[in-house]
Amino acid sequence: MASTDTPSRNRRGTFIDTLSGLPWWFFIILLGALFLAYSFFVDETYSDIFIFLKDGVAMTIRVTLTGYALAVTIGLMTGLGRVSKNPVLYNVATIYVNIMRGIPILVNILYVAFVVTPPAINGINVLGDWLAQINLLGPENVLAVLSVRQVDFSVRGTIALAISYGAFEAEIFRAGIESIGRGQMEAARSLGMSYVQAMRYIILPQAVRRVLPPLGNDFIAMLKESSLISVLGVRDMTQLSKLYAASSFQYLKTYTLLAFMYLVMTVLLSIGVKSMERRLSTND
């Protein structure tokens, strides 16, 4: 009995193992996507919604791209500050990172848009007047006459996102730089390079390869979180969906399409990040 029983159970075991090892989650998502795509095709409401959301897609992409470019720039500079031996740079960078990591992005968006922007514009006006006084710029220059109303909420939202994400990117850059062995800096310095030259030619080129995948992941995260700027009334995908749903009462279809659109964008991007990760690891 036992001798015939065991092999057959083993055979069933491997079959079940194979089955359960398949990427079912992917099939199920794919199936859902196909079903949705089919409904979009047959149901005209969806194409109405999509046409309404189109400008929002452009806004979402624009906010994400500019916000991200700013965030990476802030992150690189702050990351360099975080590994600096200069106490002023180190402390300024560390204060910024710790404050931003402790504030919800939504709160930061509100804060930048309504609290920081007006005095910041005043400051720019004062600067413009001063530059006019010392005759560097004309009396009616852009800086002097800029008014708070001219600074669009999409700009404020983008800056707020960049400030929040800059802190995350800074920590990614810091970790990347610190992952490069001490010997690299010592070898560069022993050849007579300055600290800045060693960073520029030896440390950063190596660190960048290591930080690209996490930076890519943050790009995806930022694409999703850009939906938060809809609280400012910025007409991104999310805001336009809210407007459409409220006026048409098509809550289910509007928000389903909205979610689907974010999902498609992020899944495509994460496939891109994965393949970049693979390419970088084979290059090592």
Binding site: G183, A187, S190, L191, G192, I202, P205, Q206
Partner: protein, 248 residues
């Protein structure tokens, strides 16, 4: 430029302490141009720390260091100026993994010496030739053997036309069959009149290449002598004990 009758390296009562650890303790040493000084001593005796003080990879806690007539002050631009005259070769090679062998030798020439790309390229190929691996110019460090990597590292230092070369256990991370190819390059350098300070456990190299051997223990210099005297007639008990351990 460099006065052959004056020491090119002077250490005067140099201390380097890490907290309670006196890694280097009141060391005074003078090295003449073209002299080859081999430093030996047990692990933790401060050999690396002393070597790293010479090009200021470590800042001395006290004392004075003069290299090529320039006093190493605590900070400032002159440190880079001195480092460019002092080549250093590390135990772990420390090649730049994102650059080919040739680019490893080129980069500091262009960035630090301000040489044109073509000029740096020419010098780099010449140096790779000198260390015997001209055919590896376009290979990345990851695809080189340890011995080849270390020879690229030597070429990289030599391309800066240093007046002094510091070696910190350059063969300790190498498989036995690769040690010779690196020592041969160093021997050739010594014969060409390069000023060298070499920390090594290779007693054959010490005997053949050194003008002077320095024995360190617990952060200080215990004994210094010519190779013949050092190996055949050591004065101090500590030296005798160390030699008996290392020579079996």
């Amino acid at each position: 430029m460099t006065d052959k009758s004056q020491p090119i390296i002077i250490l005067k009562n140099v201390d380097k302490h890490f907290g309670h650890v006196k890694a280097v303790n009141n060391i005074s040493l003078e090295v003449m141009p073209s002299e080859v000084v081999v430093v030996i001593g047990p692990s933790g005796s401060g050999k690396s720390t002393m070597l790293r003080c010479i090009n200021h990879l470590e800042t001395p806690t006290a004392g004075q260091i003069v290299v090529d007539g320039k006093v190493l002050s605590h900070k400032g631009k002159d440190i880079n100026a001195i480092r460019r005259e002092v080549g250093m070769v590390f135990q772990q090679f420390n090649l730049f993994p994102h650059l080919t062998a040739l680019e490893n030798v080129v980069i500091a020439q262009t960035v630090v010496r301000g040489r044109s790309k073509q000029e740096a390229d020419r010098v780099a190929r010449q140096q790779l030739d000198r260390v015997g691996i001209p055919e590896k110019a376009d290979v990345y460090p990851g695809q080189l053997s340890g011995g080849q990597q270390q020879r690229v590292a030597i070429a990289r230092a030599l391309a800066m036309n240093p007046k002094i070369m510091l070696f910190d256990e350059p063969t300790s991370a190498l498989d036995p069959e690769m040690i010779k190819e690196v020592l041969d390059v160093m021997m050739q350098l010594a014969e060409e009149g390069m000023t060298m300070v070499v920390v090594t456990h290779e007693m054959g190299f010490a005997r053949n290449a050194a003008d002077r051997i320095i024995f360190m223990n617990e952060g200080g210099i215990v004994e210094e002598a010519t190779p013949d005297v050092f190996f055949d007639n050591p004065k101090h008990e500590r030296t005798k004990l160390f030699l008996s351990q290392i020579l079996h």
